[in-house]
Amino acid sequence: MAGVETTYRDALREALIDAMNEDETIVILGEEVGLYGGAYGVTKGLIDMFGEPRVLDTPISEPAIVGTAVGAAMTGLRPVAEIMYVDFAGMVMDQLGNQSAKIRYMFGGQIGVPMVLRTQGGTGRSAAAQHSQSLESWFAHVPGLRVIMPATVNDAYHLLREAMTKPDPVVFIEHKGLYVRKGEMDKSKPDGVWGEPVKRRDGGDVVLLSYSRMLFETMAAAERLAGEGIEAAVWDVRCLNPCDLSSVYDAVRQTGRAAVITESCVTGGFGAELASRISEHCFDYLEEPVLRIGGEDIPIPVSQELEKNAIPTPDLIAESVAWLVARKAPAWA
């Protein structure tokens, strides 16, 4: 079966539809997932196709949405719960981190919690400080959770499909800036293996590691660098935790140079975990420190102009990497 061009949103939607057709125990619950079709349209029409209770509009009760999904997952359903914005994680981290993630362990392996928590994050809509965050590092620090952040249309489909087969809670974080992005979806050909990064671009001078929307800003930067004669390999982490980075280590051992690009603010962010692992495993081969190019350590401002520059731009990425590789220090240095 050949690939088709579609959007990130529709790939996610098809993943849900295909899975729900195959697995009768899958139920979707969350705010506005039904009649409204999802705040970003991912579940549009599903309530007509599958009806209640397989598609359940919930009240605005985030902790209970996740808690209900936990109980349902323990008793035979496979809930796909939606939290409209990852920024609301602060209301559900107890049910997610203390309950769903630890139940298998605390109960000595008696039972798991096979649920998916779909949510979306990131900047791009002038949605301000409480609707624009990137909080993946909170989830990645909780043993028992699996954390997925797809960038490509094909990953959106395949990783969501696979998430709905896992025996444990999967936090599946989409990006509000990617929903209308087009790309090829091939239901017969995943981009790569669950739990491993995927190389999106070849390059022998430097390894750039990113995920979610920042992958494309990084690809754009790589193109610009190519114009300057710098060949950057770009790797997409996709599955943040658990994650086997050995293929990335091999690549970095070749280039001796690496940078990690995240939208989340630098301090305490997941970029620190990636940079630390690379520094640990590639130490002998590194000719320069692993750069962390991330969001500014500030809340996200509402003004479009400020928002745009609160996260890494292709300019910032390209200039930083050019310096890292060719010692061409940019104007601001």
Partner: protein, 342 residues
């Protein structure tokens, strides 16, 4: 003519409601003209009855609002130009273009902030009331929120604390009957919200939110009781005239319902009452409306003419003055690479 006493009061309430409606219309216009910061703009058209609550608040009282709080702020003294500037993410907005529509605030008039988290601001009013009681200040804090927040557990934790500590706080639910696309009866099995307040030890009342005089009378009682240390709950029933936010065309409700719903018009109701009661003539009110239209036009033009915040201000106000501003990523990278081998 416009008589005095309660007639005068109705007239003033009408003026406030009309200013709210016109401001919100300009917000919608600002969006269409591409001048707003984003599309997450929630108009309070149909909810102008809140003017009846706002009129009972005194200087020194404080309030918190939700994401649909433009009207409440305006009624409490917000300056339309600075409000629209903030909604446009401009440097001279109330929050220097950092907060926007969902985080507008003005300590000057006791506005402790709009909130983009449903229910998020409610305990802040409880905390303010705790301050007033602890420091012996004669003030009340009012928490405004929507019917959607009636399904947030935090509300009940907040009510419970207000009740055990006898705090001067009033919880005001603006029940516009929708949370995004979810009609209230799909969000809860019992919409008699006053029962919930009583179950936690508060006094509670549900009133017609489209009759500003009824709202005003209920709020007078509630504010007086709250000032005396008896926390209150008030739910005002109304109808959300437009979509949830600017992008929402409300496909989940049919036109017939909307037509019916929009008949619940607090502004029109007050206008007709004044005309029928010979409190004001249609032409007097028309010219008042016109003045307000000009006021808001001017505000919109002034706001849109404003400049975006200087890029560097991004790093201001993360911490208080005792802490240096956060280093930019550029600076961090420059430091690292300058330290690295030449």
């Amino acid at each position: 003519m416009v008589a005095s006493g309660s007639n005068r009061k109705l007239f003033e309430l009408y003026r406030t409601m009309r200013r709210i409606r016109t401001l919100e219309e300009r917000v919608g216009e600002m969006f269409l003209r591409g001048g707003s910061a984003g599309s997450m703009l929630h108009l309070s058209i149909g909810e102008e009855g809140v003017a009846g609550v706002c009129a009972t608040m005194k200087e020194g009282d404080s309030f918190t609002t939700h994401h649909r709080g433009h009207g409440i702020f305006l009624a409490r003294g917000g300056d339309p130009t600075r409000m629209l500037a903030e909604i446009g993410g401009k440097a001279d907005g109330y929050c220097a273009g950092k907060g926007g529509s969902m985080h507008i605030a003005d300590m000057g008039v006791g506005h402790l902030g709009a909130n983009a988290i449903v229910g998020g601001g409610i305990p802040h009013s409880v905390g303010a009331a705790l301050t007033y009681k602890t420091l012996g200040q004669d003030a009340v804090s009012v928490a405004f929120f929507g019917d959607g927040a009636m399904q947030q557990g935090l509300l009940y934790e907040s009510m419970n604390m207000a009740a055990i500590w006898s705090l001067p706080v009033v919880f005001v639910c603006i029940n516009n009957q929708y949370g995004m696309g979810t009609r209230i009866d799909r969000a809860t099995a019992n919409t008699a919200f006053d029962q919930r307040a009583r179950a936690f030890g508060l006094e509670g009342e549900v009133v017609d939110g489209t009759d500003v005089e009824i709202v005003n009378a209920a709020a007078e009682r509630a504010m007086a009781e709250a000032r005396a240390g008896k926390p209150q709950f008030l739910s005002m029933t109304c109808y959300r005239f437009h979509g949830h936010a600017r992008m929402d065309k409300s496909p989940y409700r049919d036109d017939a319902e909307e037509t019916e719903g929009r008949k619940m018009d607090p502004v029109l109701k007050a206008r007709n009452r004044m005309i029928d009661g010979d409190i004001a003539t249609a032409s007097e009110l028309d010219s008042l409306d016109e003045d307000i239209g000009q006021e808001m036009d001017a505000a919109l033009d002034a706001a849109m003419a404003g400049a975006a915040p200087a890029m560097d201000t991004m790093f201001d106000h993360v911490y208080g003055a005792d802490e240096p501003r956060p280093e930019s990523v550029r600076t961090k990278i420059a430091t690292v690479l300058n330290e690295a081998p030449r």
